[in-house]
């Protein structure tokens, strides 16, 4: 399967071509309902994780809540 290069949380990564965002999260061992995704600078609504495709050169920020004051 062909691989594409993307950027996730500031790091270059190679992933399989043709993944949806939801599949990307699962491949990274993350639970989609706990993660907020910023895709090329725009927030991606959770309902769209399954339908949006991961493209070569895309930049993702994957964030969640951690302890803070």
């Amino acid at each position: 399967m062909n691989q594409i290069e993307i950027r996730v949380n500031g790091e270059q990564r190679r992933v399989s071509e043709g993944l949806s965002v939801e599949e990307l999260l699962r491949e990274l061992d993350l639970q989609p309902r706990m993660i907020v995704v910023e895709h090329n600078g725009d927030i991606l609504r959770r309902e769209r994780y399954a339908e949006v495709a991961v493209g070569a050169g895309d930049a993702f920020e994957l964030v969640h809540f951690v302890g803070g004051g």
């Binding site: 996730v8 949380n9 500031g10 790091e11 990274l28 061992d29 993350l30 706990m34 993660i35 907020v36 910023e38 927030i43 609504r45 959770r46 920020e61 994957l62 964030v63 969640h64 809540f65 951690v66 302890g67 803070g68 004051g69």
Partner: protein, 266 residues
């Protein structure tokens, strides 16, 4: 029994943006030694509003649990912060990400202006507040103990204004009670003192100024026994509030006997 009656009759709950809260104490979730200790301390504090931060998932330790694995989002009002942001744009970005998590449109807005003191950037905070309010956020804005900035934040539409007692994580207590009273006297939205409280007496003194609530994190997380300290802070917050409502006796620079001067033996 009697205490509860007084509490219910004489004090309305702290209400922010139309939502009544079950405690005037709000707590953070950072810097605890263990998640278990954090969960127990938060429960012991009696707080309903609990702050969280937004950060990148650590991909190398992707099984690392986020805070939501430990906190019941039905029991607490999770209040995302924009801690660590140094510009209005950055804080707005973090607030939007937090809202997209789907729990709340409340945000504790924090724009830091200086790395060493962590003091807020007043101008950037006001700018970010305007944008976030326009986007429908309920904004609780962390700020200096400065009346003019507090007034501008209220004018920008903030649901609460949160002046500091002293710098974040310092534990120095309430450095300028006068400034805090001045802010409280002039604002219509709730005033929540955020940051700097170190121990229970600090919380009581802060509440005695008449403010609507307190937010703290390090005072609990760095206490030798966070669960005990959390309970102490809950009691002190309530004690300070009641003392404020009760109205303290005047200060005088002379003694006045408490027992009758008449009827002494000859």
């Amino acid at each position: 029994m009697a205490t509860e009656t007084v509490h219910q009759i004489e004090d309305a709950p702290l209400t922010i943006a139309g939502r009544p809260l079950r405690s005037r104490l709000m707590v953070g979730t950072g810097k605890y030694r263990t998640n278990q200790e954090m969960v127990e301390a938060i429960a012991a504090s009696g707080a309903e509003v609990v702050t969280v931060a937004v950060r990148r998932v650590d991909l190398d330790r992707s099984n690392e649990e986020g805070i939501l694995h430990h906190l019941d989002a039905d029991r607490y009002l999770l209040l995302p912060n924009t801690a660590g942001c140094y510009s209005a744009d950055e804080a707005i970005r973090y607030a939007r990400l937090a809202r997209a998590a789907g729990f709340t449109d409340w945000v504790k807005l924090e724009v830091i202006g200086d790395q060493e003191t962590l003091l807020p950037d007043a101008e950037a905070t006001v700018d970010a507040a305007r944008t976030l309010v326009a986007e429908g956020f309920t904004v609780l804005a962390y700020t200096n103990d400065d009346l003019i900035t507090a007034l501008r934040l209220e004018d920008a539409g903030c649901a609460a204004v949160m002046p500091l007692a002293s710098p974040i994580g310092s534990g120095l207590g309430l450095i300028n009670p006068y400034n805090i009273r001045t802010i409280k006297a002039r604002l219509e939205v709730p005033v929540i003192v955020d940051a700097g409280v170190g121990t229970a007496s600090d919380a009581a003194i802060t509440m005695e100024q008449g403010v609507d609530g307190i937010l703290m994190n390090t005072a609990l997380a760095e206490a030798e026994d966070p669960v005990r300290m959390a309970r102490a802070m809950g009691l002190a917050t309530e004690a300070g509030r009641l003392a404020y409502l009760a109205g303290r006796m005047p200060r005088r620079e002379r003694a006045v006997p408490s027992s009758p001067t008449r009827g002494m033996l000859a």
